[in-house]
């Protein structure tokens, strides 16, 4: 398969463009995504190519337009909505958790809701407490929803394509600190239909590190640090939080005997707890140490650079958590 080097941002645009070319029932809506190409330029060129009816600017009214996406999905379209910052998922929470996620179930399976919510989250840019959250676990306990996290250009590309083709509502979380990162993307790949879960990015025999979003490159950097000291960590990008498939993680832990999860959110209620619980249940006898979780402290992300840097898990902190299990 021919690959092309793309930025994360370009990979998102490419996935949107290809899927919109392929399926005329797709359309995208969001704030400032039209002629301006999106505040993060994740829709660049789409307005020119597909026109205002399929690339629709919305007023600032997340509850309204996310609810409208549900109505579109129920009546034959495959809407994609962009939530400019994941933090604003809070504004339209009700539409997602009480409407979008449950409509199929409440109809006794008579309707389907092919709908994608893309939201751009994450810290590190000094945007403060209301513009830095990933929101990745906010809806983790909501059946009916799928939740995907994009950690690199190729993941952003393939996962978004698969999400758009999925007949279920999918929340795709992107990370703004990754927008300019580059990587090889197999352009034109057909998503195999299913959103596939955890992916091993680096093999190792001494510990398993599972991470999401911008914590994935940090976990890889931690593995480099550990390797210099003779510890080989296996690094897994969890990719799909719901439905969560922990089988590859359990398999890895049976080999490495240690588990560390890394997520950019507070520990309580994070997905790491679910991973750890499942690993303990499935691979208890293989564990040489209790699973560890590296998270944000139990505080909102602060504005001041010194404080934000102190809050975000560093490669050193991840490596230290692994060493503590050895």
């Amino acid at each position: 398969m021919p690959t092309e080097e793309l930025t994360y941002r370009e990979a998102i645009v490419a996935a949107l463009r290809e899927e919109m070319q392929r399926d005329p029932t797709t359309l995208i809506m969001g704030e400032d995504i039209g002629a301006s190409g999106g505040p993060f330029k994740t829709c660049l060129g789409l307005y020119e190519e597909f026109g205002p009816a399929r690339v629709r600017d919305t007023p600032i009214a997340e509850t309204g337009f996310v609810g409208a996406a549900l109505g579109l999905a129920l009546t034959g379209f495959r809407p994609i909505v962009e939530i400019m910052f994941s933090d604003f998922l809070g504004v339209c929470f009700d539409q997602i958790v009480n409407g979008i996620a449950k409509h199929r179930f409440m109809s006794g399976g008579r309707v389907k809701v092919p709908l994608v919510i893309r939201s751009i989250g994450g810290g590190g840019l000094r945007f403060g407490a209301q513009h830095s959250q990933t929101g990745e676990s906010w809806m983790l306990s909501v059946p009916g929803l799928k939740i995907v996290c994009a950690s690199a250009p190729d993941v952003a590309y393939t996962m978004l394509k698969a999400a758009i083709r999925d007949d279920n509502p999918v929340l795709v979380i992107e990370h703004k600190a990754l927008l300019s990162t580059k990587g090889d993307v197999a352009i034109g790949t057909e998503p195999d239909g299913a959103l596939s879960g955890p992916k091993i990015l680096r093999t190792g025999s001494d510990a398993t590190i599972v991470a999401s979003l911008a914590m994935v490159p940090r976990a890889l950097a931690a593995a480099d640090l550990l390797s210099a000291g003779g510890i080989e960590a296996e690094v897994i990008d969890i990719r799909v939080l719901r439905p969560m498939d922990t089988r590859p993680i359990c398999k890895s832990v049976r080999k490495t005997h240690r588990l560390v999860t890394v997520e950019e959110q507070a520990q309580v209620g994070g997905w790491g707890a679910e991973v750890a619980a499942q690993v303990v249940h499935e691979a208890f006898d293989y564990l040489d140490a209790p699973p560890a979780r590296v998270c944000l402290p139990d505080y909102p992300l602060p504005y001041s650079p010194v404080l934000e840097d102190a809050a975000l898990p560093s490669p050193e902190a991840i490596a230290a958590a692994v060493r503590a299990l050895m």
Binding site: D32, P59, L125, P297, P302, S304, L307, A310
Partner: protein, 325 residues
Amino acid sequence: MASGLQLSRDQLLQAYRQMRLIRDFEETVHEEFSAGAIPGFVHLYAGEEACGVGVCTHLDERDAIASTHRGHGHCIAKGCDIDGMMHEIFGRRAGLCGGKGGSMHIADLSKGMLGANGIVGGGPPLICGAALTAKTLKTGGVAVAFVGDGGSNQGTTLESYNLAKVWNLPAIFVVEDNGYAESTGTKYSVGGSQVQRGQGFGLPAVEVDGSDFFAVYEVAGEAVERARGGGGPTLIHARLLRYYGHFEGDATTYRGPGEVASYKAAKDPLMQFRNRVIEASLLKPDEFDAVDGEVKQTVARTLTQAKAAPMPTEADLLTDVYNRY
């Protein structure tokens, strides 16, 4: 009717001083941001000074305001300490919020400034609460929400109009309509008119030239008087223009050519104020010049101090989430 031209010399100078302070503060933040000295996201109020100051000139310590992401001007107009603000914007420990909030979250409850807000449409519900407090405790206070044209489309804003009406609250909604929400024009995003929206909920509603301090002062005076007297909420639709991009770094490709320059030449709020007051022989040009000079020094001093001030320490991270953990 409260006509601004009947203000005392001191009051006129104070109103001008506030507007000049906002302008200089914002221009300084603009330069510092461009030079890479300020982290994150800043949205500047330059060009909109007459609105914040025209409204807040009527307010005192009984009164509360809620602001937006474009909050520096509202903070200054309501009396927040500019040293504390500048320190906050530079992420310093001595900032009004200890460096934890940043430009988009400056708050100072001691001044009745409930907070800037990173969530568009976040402010209006808060002032319904603050107005309910004032009403319940009979303080005579009023509460004012500033909200952008973009924010006027959020359900929270429209719900607040209704709450304020049905509870007959001493609340004032000031829709600051600068023509854009980020790059989206109001023609595209706002259905109906702001005044009709207010009227639809039963609020007295009025449109005003937001570049004209005296016009804003007059309509705000009526709204505040009504609210203090138990007459309920008002909506003010102020038309104005922001001089800089939506946020610092915005290329503003959506603007018409010369849009800002021609507006500045014809309607700059500080220039209008100065000309009107001099024309009415209430103050002399050198009195304005003296304010300009004094404000310039004040802002320069604030900047120097903020830049030299210590950052928070890691230990500061572990405080302030709960009152008691």
